[in-house]
């Protein structure tokens, strides 16, 4: 998990008001690029996250973690991020370092405090659940524009706003999805809702984002994201708090030495 993480991931796109005869594919890509550019230039940020896993019968289970992200500057290089797990308590102190790339798989390392060991994550597990939640690993990762193709579907009212409805198709063959349909408001390009379709093309999950706040007069982040799995009846609520930008993070906060003392 990584990068601008979900919030920015959700900020998908906006189409610049129709230029001549654009195909729906061109318009979809344009929306994605615009949304992406609105998340750019953040430098670094830190935030706390709490996940509430809700079973079919309503039983809940919590996970708390903290995220530190440094924006990537290179052509190929994406963001670098450090995720520190606080609960459940048996994984307390575990930390994950991610180097993301625009066009290839991320490099990831996991620090296991009991063994004092840094392990390279080899698994190409994208569709699997993140910490047993309804969010998969790919949902939690940085959503580089290049990793999808797009198609604009229609405009649709969403609440008091008007949304673009855009479909996107993962290019990664390990993705658990065939397509995702997003509702993106035309004013600030925030993603309010995403429908995820599984490999059998059936509706699998719906993500709803709410309680957006603007930081640094620029970046919109939701305080709550809910993922509902329509096939299992389970859901996960994700609460973001303590968003901080310009916290002074640098490259030296994202190497194996800093991973080992992440805490």
């Amino acid at each position: 998990m990584n990068a601008r993480l979900l919030p920015a991931a959700l900020l998908m796109a906006l189409a610049a008001p129709a230029v001549l005869a654009q195909t729906p594919e061109e318009k979809g890509l344009e929306i994605a690029r615009e949304a992406d550019s609105r998340g750019e230039g953040f430098g670094d940020f830190q935030a706390d996250m709490k996940m509430v896993l809700i079973s079919k019968s309503g039983q809940t289970s919590d996970r708390e973690l903290r995220v530190k992200t440094l924006e990537g500057t290179g052509e190929e290089e994406g963001d670098k991020s450090l995720t520190i797990f606080d609960t459940p308590r048996d994984v307390r102190g575990t930390a994950m370092l991610t180097f993301s790339y625009k066009t290839r798989d991320d490099d990831q390392w996991l620090y296991l405090p009991a063994l004092r060991r840094v392990k390279t994550i080899a698994s190409r597990n994208k569709s699997g659940p993140f910490m047993g939640s309804e969010f998969s690993f790919e949902d939690m990762r940085g959503q580089e524009v290049e990793k999808y193709t797009y198609k604009y579907l229609r405009d649709e009212p969403c609440g008091e706003l008007t949304c673009f409805v855009v479909e996107r198709y993962p290019q990664d063959e390990d993705s658990g999805y065939t397509r995702q349909v997003s509702w993106i408001d035309q004013q600030e390009y925030r993603t309010w809702k995403v429908d995820y379709y599984d490999r059998k093309k059936s509706l699998l999950k719906t993500l709803t984002a709410s309680d957006f706040s603007q930081y640094q007069d620029k970046f919109w982040q939701p305080a709550k994201m809910s993922m509902v799995n329509h096939q299992t009846g389970k859901s996960t609520d994700l609460f973001w708090s303590n968003y901080r930008y310009d916290t002074g993070l640098s490259e030296s906060d994202f190497n194996k030495n800093s991973l080992k003392r992440a805490r």
Binding site: G128, P129, R261
Partner: protein, 434 residues
């Protein structure tokens, strides 16, 4: 119990405590406490360890403090275990008592710490900084705290770590009442090659680099007292020797021990790892001199994970490794020409359920060590695990008399897994995190 304590008296700990300012609010206290029960499926070959169930428990509190905008970090982790039968397994240790200071591109780590080196799962060849707390866990993953001064520097061309290691920790072994145990109990009076005995200052250096094509490399060198002793049977008295020659048995009341001999060694290590399309290739190799003839050892293989098995959330990981060593047979480890096959089922559920099954197969004498481990969480703070270890097609445990008869006849055979062969067990453990 006493042996753990005496090694700690090196002043470093005290010096460190005084160096750390005891004022500020960012103190954190937490830890874990556990209960363990074992059932041994066979009768013990040793009359002193004649039982089939054993209870044990440990406590490991952790104290953290950070200040100076997290550029200074203090850690204190004491550890204590109580065992129902084995007085040697009832022991305590300071796992960590350290101060880390982070500078610009470097950091210093001073005090008692634990450091892990390596990439493979079968045998941790390269890992050498800490002594193994052998009596605590049979898998050798548990380590004793090591006093050290470690400087680490991060550059574009890699990370370099330099270690000065004052003070040596002796390996812990099960006592006479322990299961599994050694054929002879291991003496507290270790012999050292160095005249400074356990006060010798050892050195180590390690270079590691990560390349963005998926290659990771580390080179290391250690110069100092071997963490891995040779166990030498104690000399017999003339009366004992005469009885052995006359009757083939040691006289009753004779309790010979193994004397651990700690040589001064030089060990160079290589770690290589290459990740390509989900295949993680791993290699560890060492060359060691100073303990008999120079020898080399290698552990290499791969790890691969099948994700989303049969359209479920379950992942199935595979680990295959070959472990080899060219050491003189009588001194060779039981893992001198062995294949490790491991499988790990990760269910990715709310309880983080996992099942790990592994077999280590000796291609020369066909000994097999089998392990099964499974764990899951209950609620937020409780973790339960079930574990089983079995040894098959192994040699038989030797009695003390047999061991000396062989020595007399100059029969120098490697016992392999013989000494632990009749200590198959099933274990349940419950850990509470506070």
């Amino acid at each position: 119990m006493i042996s753990s304590a005496k090694n700690m008296k090196n002043g470093l700990a005290t010096a460190l405590l005084l160096a750390v300012p005891l004022v500020s609010s960012a103190w954190e206290f937490r830890g874990e406490v556990a209960l363990e029960g074992r059932y041994f499926t066979q009768d013990s070959p040793y009359p002193q360890a004649d039982y089939s169930t054993n209870g044990s428990g440990y406590i490991k509190p952790e104290v953290f403090h950070e200040w100076n905008n997290r550029d200074d970090l203090f850690t204190f982790i004491p550890y204590a275990r109580v065992d129902e039968h084995d007085t040697e397994r009832t022991h305590w240790d300071i796992r960590e008592l350290s101060w880390i200071h982070v500078g610009n591109g470097w950091e210093s780590r001073v005090g008692i710490r634990k450091v892990f080196w390596g990439v493979t799962e079968g045998r941790h060849l390269v890992d050498i900084i800490n002594q193994t707390d052998q009596v605590d866990q049979v898998d050798g993953e548990e380590k004793l705290g090591q006093p050290m001064i470690n400087l680490s520097t991060v550059r574009d061309w890699g990370i370099v770590d330099v270690f000065v290691l004052p003070g040596f920790r002796e390996r812990t072994y099960a006592g006479e009442e322990g299961r599994p145990r050694t054929p002879l109990p291991v003496s507290d009076n270790a012999q050292y090659e160095s005249s400074k005995e356990n006060q010798r200052v050892d050195f180590a250096i390690r270079y590691q680099q990560y390349f963005d094509n998926g290659l990771e490399l580390a080179l290391s060198h250690f110069s100092g007292t071997s963490r891995d002793p040779l166990l030498i049977p104690d000399s017999l008295t003339l009366a004992e020797l005469q009885a052995l020659i006359a009757t083939g048995q040691l006289p009753s009341g004779s309790d010979p021990e193994f004397i651990p001999l700690y040589n001064v060694i030089d060990q160079t290590g290589l770690e290589l790892q290459y990740l390509n399309s989900g295949w993680l290739w791993k290699l560890e190799a060492i060359s060691r001199s100073g303990q008999g003839e120079r020898f080399n050892a290698v552990d290499g293989g791969f790890e691969y994970t099948q994700v989303g098995l049969l359209d479920t959330a379950t992942d199935l990981g595979w680990i295959v490794e070959y472990i080899w060593e060219d050491r003189d047979d009588s001194l060779a480890s039981p893992l001198a020409s062995d294949v490790l096959l491991g499988t790990r089922f990760t269910f990715n559920d709310v309880a983080s359920t996992e099942i790990l099954a592994g077999i280590i197969y000796d291609t020369e004498d066909e000994e097999k060590a089998i392990s099964l481990e499974s764990s899951r969480r209950f609620g937020n703070s409780l973790k339960a695990s079930l574990e089983a270890r079995f040894y098959t097609d192994t040699g038989k445990p030797q009695s003390a008399s047999q061991l000396y008869r062989d020595a007399l006849r100059n029969v120098n055979t490697n016992p392999g897994l013989g000494p632990i062969s009749r200590s198959d067990f099933i274990q349940a453990e419950l850990v509470y995190y506070f």
